[in-house]
């Protein structure tokens, strides 16, 4: 494996991290905390939306984010022949 290839592999990994962590930030700190009052004017059935993100939605998204990361990285490892 050349140094160049490894650099590319690492760069792609960092790109995935940046995208996934942005979503992580937006659903919890964004929707659940900073924008909670604005979102609370919208309703999701019996929930105010901001409250729902803070006590339910953000956690579901966290789980999905990790499983998406697992899939992305498994594919990336395979592409670069780095799967262990």
């Amino acid at each position: 494996m050349s140094t160049n290839m490894l650099k590319k592999y690492w760069k792609t990994n960092l790109k995935y991290l940046a995208i996934l962590l942005s979503i992580w930030f937006v659903v919890s700190y964004g929707f659940g905390i900073l924008l909670v009052d604005e979102l609370n004017t919208i309703r999701l059935g019996g929930f105010k939306l901001g409250f729902w993100f803070a006590q339910q939605g953000s956690m579901y998204v966290f789980v999905i984010l990790i499983f998406v990361y697992i899939r992305l990285m498994n594919a990336l490892d395979k592409k670069y022949n780095l799967d262990d």
């Binding site: 962590l21 992580w24 019996g46 105010k48 409250f51 803070a54 953000s58 956690m59 789980v63 799967d83």
Partner: protein, 562 residues
């Protein structure tokens, strides 16, 4: 059958199970003792991590805290789950690739310095001891309420059980008992939650019943907001903490979670890097089952409590009220002598005090559930407390036998000698934990926040920089960790124990509470580390190669191949 009989039966069966597993999975090498031999499957590790993580606080206290704080309780929900995203994406895979036994191992090797290692050992011990005292206390509480033994006897029974499987089995024994403990605790938490969700909303899934309607077609959350408004409490769905403080507390809990040694070390037990990622995913999934049900349970019990007691005649209250009055966790003082309970937001007129821990433990009784369900909750609370205690004890014993003795004091110790040292330090650690369980220092509650703050302020930046910045050197990392810890200790002791002149809420820096200050201390650590490392020599070539190497999942190291 009576509640007592049920409780003895269920607690007896689960304890027999834990001991059976311990005998079956004895550790015979240090590798087995510290990291279960390194061959745990991702699914089993996910289950074990979930049990390891969810402590007496998650099981017994969290739903109650949310119940009394409404929206403000969200900090625990987001904080204690969001940290797993950081763990899975930023730490677990790389630490697994690094492939040692403990967190101080990583810090010491990556920063090529025994000073760094010592600072890490100090933090690991401080964080873990703080935590474990609370667990032993939880064990004692459950025993005393449900089995009516003395609280101290309860602590001692708990100590013996943990001693048995932690000392005998090490990480291997702990891992497989934790798998069993997760099953017990999640079943024990969900059964009453499902029952009560059906009772109140007709929906068997608490997470959905949470947003459901009562029999009159009113949304439960709207009804609760209305009750709160009428009684003069703050609205349930909007909090009373400042947005900035909620932000900082959530961040401190998330980052602290990702920096806790007993959680990180679980990722050393799997076979390969991709398994470390997978087990973080499983762990969060299993944790989320309880964490999304807890706020639902909080709303059900809150509504139930208010409707059952508010403005009711004291003499006509159901029997659970009296049962819990005996424990002192709920109390009524008839201030206006009308024989009725005024439960209101105005402290001068309020006549009812309810301890938050009661909410989960008393739920089955308040909802008239059968005795076996109540007994199940007791067994679940014990599973949660014991599994976390065991994980923490292992971190403590490994810090002493591996990081201190093997790596610093006596490097030529034999494998057998180190294993004996590990078992001895586990025994000592259990005894110290038991002592604190029986004689809890009054600062236990205050120091739980400190444990998260310390983990956030010390380990998290040092590990992240160690992985993501090749140029981070020992001078930067050590200075950063020290600044982080000291700043956190200063702020905490100033506002919690009144040291350094003390201070009140008005004196908080930028209005940030001590619980949220871990975030500030963490940022200070990052800044100091980066600045110092710019003015001091780069780390040696071979250390930079370690960093290259941990970034690649397979064993195809860059060193041999380019």
């Amino acid at each position: 059958m009576t509640l007592q009989t049920w409780t003895w039966i269920l607690v007896g069966i689960t304890f027999a199970l834990y001991i059976g597993i311990a005998i079956w999975s004895r550790a015979s090498s240090t590798k087995e003792f510290y990291i279960a031999g390194g061959g745990v499957s991702p699914l089993a590790n996910g289950l074990a991590t979930a049990a390891d993580w969810m402590s007496a606080a998650s099981f017994i206290s969290m739903a109650g805290i949310i119940s009394f704080n409404g929206y403000d309780g969200s900090v625990y929900l987001m904080g204690w789950t969001g940290g797993y995203v950081l763990l899975a994406l930023l730490l677990a895979p790389y630490l697994r690739k690094f492939g040692k036994f403990t967190v101080p191992d990583f810090i010491g090797d990556r920063y090529y310095s025994n000073t760094a290692r010592s600072v890490a050992v100090f933090c690991a011990l401080l964080v873990s001891f703080t935590y474990v005292a609370g667990q032993m206390r939880g064990v004692g509480l459950v025993f005393s309420r449900f089995l009516e033994v003395d609280i101290n006897t309860g602590v001692i029974i708990g100590m013996i059980i943990v001693l048995f499987y932690a000392v005998l089995g090490g990480m291997k024994g702990i891992t497989y008992t934790q798998v069993a403990q997760y099953c017990v605790l999640i079943f024990a938490f969900m059964v009453p939650a499902i029952f009560i969700s059906i009772q109140m909303t007709g929906n068997p899934i608490p997470q959905l019943g949470f947003g459901g309607m009562d029999e009159n077609g009113v949304y439960l959350l709207d009804k609760l907001d209305g009750l709160h408004r009428d009684l003069g409490f703050a609205a349930y769905t909007s909090g009373s903490k400042s947005t900035l403080d909620v932000f900082f507390i959530t961040a401190a809990l998330m980052v602290g979670t990702a920096g806790l040694p007993h959680v990180i070390v679980r990722f050393f037990t799997v076979k390969k890097v991709s398994d470390a990622r997978k087990s973080a995913g499983w762990a969060l999934l299993f944790i989320t089952v309880l964490y999304t049900a807890a706020p639902a349970l909080a709303v059900f019990t809150r509504t139930n409590l208010i409707e059952t007691v508010s403005n009711q005649k004291y003499d006509e209250l159901p029997s659970w009220f009296n049962n819990w009055e005996h424990t002192g966790l709920i109390s009524f003082e008839d201030k206006n002598n009308d024989g009725k309970i005024q439960y209101v937001g105005d402290a001068a007129k309020n006549e009812l005090t309810v301890d938050r821990d009661i909410m989960v433990l008393a739920t089955p009784e308040i909802a008239h559930l059968p005795n076996w369900v109540i007994a199940l909750v007791a067994a679940g609370g014990l599973a949660a407390a014991l599994s976390t205690a065991a994980g923490l004890l292992l971190v403590i014993s490994a810090s002493v036998s591996h990081d201190l003795i093997k790596k610093m004091i006596k490097p030529d110790i034999s494998e057998k000698g180190e294993l004996i040292a590990a078992r001895l330090s586990a025994i000592v650690a259990v005894c110290v934990a038991g002592y604190f369980g029986i004689n809890p220092p009054d600062f236990v509650a205050a120091t739980v926040a400190l444990a998260f703050g310390l983990a956030a302020a010390s380990f998290f930046p040092a590990i992240i920089l160690g992985i993501f910045s090749k140029k981070m050197n020992k001078e930067g990392a050590i200075a950063g960790m020290l600044v982080g810890i000291l700043l956190m200790l200063f702020y905490m002791t100033k506002f919690k124990f009144d040291w350094f002149g003390g201070g009140t809420k008005e004196d908080w820096w930028f209005g940030i509470s001590p619980e949220g200050f871990g975030t500030v201390a963490m940022m200070a650590n990052f800044v100091v580390s980066i600045i110092i490392s710019k003015f001091t020599p780069n780390p040696p070539e071979e250390v930079q190669e370690i960093v290259e190497n941990i970034r690649i999942p397979s064993n195809v190291g860059i060193a041999q191949n380019h």
